[in-house]
Amino acid sequence: MPTPPVLALDRVSRDLAGRRVVRDLTLTLAKGEVLGLLGVNGAGKSTTLRMIAGVLAPSAGTVRIDGEDLAERAELARRRIGYLPEVPPLHTELTVTEFLAFCARLHGLAREADAAVGRAIERCGLGDVRRRLIGALSKGFRQRVGLAQAILHEPALIVLDEPASGLDPVQTLNLRELVRGLGADHAVVLSTHVLPDVVACCDRVAILHEGVLRHEGSLAGSMSAGIYVRTAKPMKTGDWLALPAVAAAAPAANDGMHWQIRLRDGASASTLAALIVERGVGLEELRAGNAALEETFMAIAAGGATAVAA
């Protein structure tokens, strides 16, 4: 019998105040995957995460955690979830250790609670503030305490809603590293507005717009859809299409020197680089970065893209 995915959403919808804010959302996530959930404000990201975390019941459809229906076996399923909402749920009158010890026991840990708290404190870099009152901590540290409570019981599924909010650049880099590490042993859903966070942490991307899943696929697939190229000399579309590795080319600026290139199947960025150099137009920049993802995101946000599976 095959192992069920850690998270399975089956045609999940949610109505709020008479409006359908999430519509027929179907998604699966396996252990070892990090899914980046993107969308503009009001796209339905937080509502989706709340349903996944068992805090909000779907109006229609089912959410399964490790094959267990979240509605039917709510308590059991919820123990397999670690959830960090947009506003970290903290009890500010307690110290970091006191609060995390409570969370550990709340998630069903008993004798191993102290060890779990110690591990979470270490992973989230809270060692220096473990005896401080949460109310006296900076926003960044509070965010880290929120993250620690979400991971301390080693849940199968970790749900993070804007985890980088309030973190400084160094903390953001640490967070990315932490999320990548978590992705090795857990399934992680990460909601963010910050595309570089997705590029740095995620294996897969899902883009929601007006409650509908408009794009879903691997990060590599989403990014290889386009490569940004800057040349020293101007080029025309026909020049690009003459190159055997290029399937499509679109100008990214009017000067003819900035382009979004889509590669043919089987072609790689290094092949494209070699062809540009061979042509002698001066390769100044070539990025298989998030330009394509950003382009997809912006197109969807503008309402111009149809559902795509990369």
Partner: protein, 253 residues
Amino acid sequence: MSASLLIARHEWRRLAAQPFAWLLAAIVVALMAWQFLLALEGFLELSPKLGSLKDAPGVTDLVAIPLLRSFSNLLMLLVPLVTMRAIASERRAQSLVLLLAGGVGNVRVVLGKYFGAFAFVLVLIVLVAAMPLALGFGTALDYGRLAAALIGLVLFAGALTAIGVLCSAWTAQPALAAAAAFAITSLLAIVDAGARLKGIDNSGINYLALPTHIEPFFRGLVSSIDIVYFLLVAAVALAFAAKRLERLRSVSD
């Protein structure tokens, strides 16, 4: 450890960490101690005359029971202040999600919140009860009647605490929760006032009123119908509070 007990202990810990709870306890003890000393002084002035009366009231009738009766009135104001933050402040701080997402059922969350607040109210009852009980070192107390009054007070406080938790689950504003709890308990206290003015004291409306059920305890009568009344009020209020949490899962909070 059961989830309810865990949440109750956590609530207790959170209450103890707040200056508000200590201030409230200090005010209650000071207020009741002042009343106790006034009643005691009155009793000492009156006691030479009481000696000549047949079946004269003792210190239990004139000091202890009036003090506990007065405390029961104070509890109607006090308990909403203790319970107002139980769930409302968590909703306001958006930390209720910790419990809702934590694999703990709604009933156990409500019971945990209830017992955490009730434990604090019990401590206040013990502190106040210690005043008349201290008279036992120097005079003869009617311990049976005192025990009945304390049982009634505990049941009464239990029902008020449940109403307070229900109101705290109903709104995200602690002050509004306190006001609503005070309004409901006040309504239950005076619901039969009209009937009593007309000399009716044994009708259905009388049964609904809180004083109908607390007064027998102060007279030394422990009756199962009064016990059931308080337990019923507490159970219904807690059931509605759990229902409210269920509702919070189905709407965006």
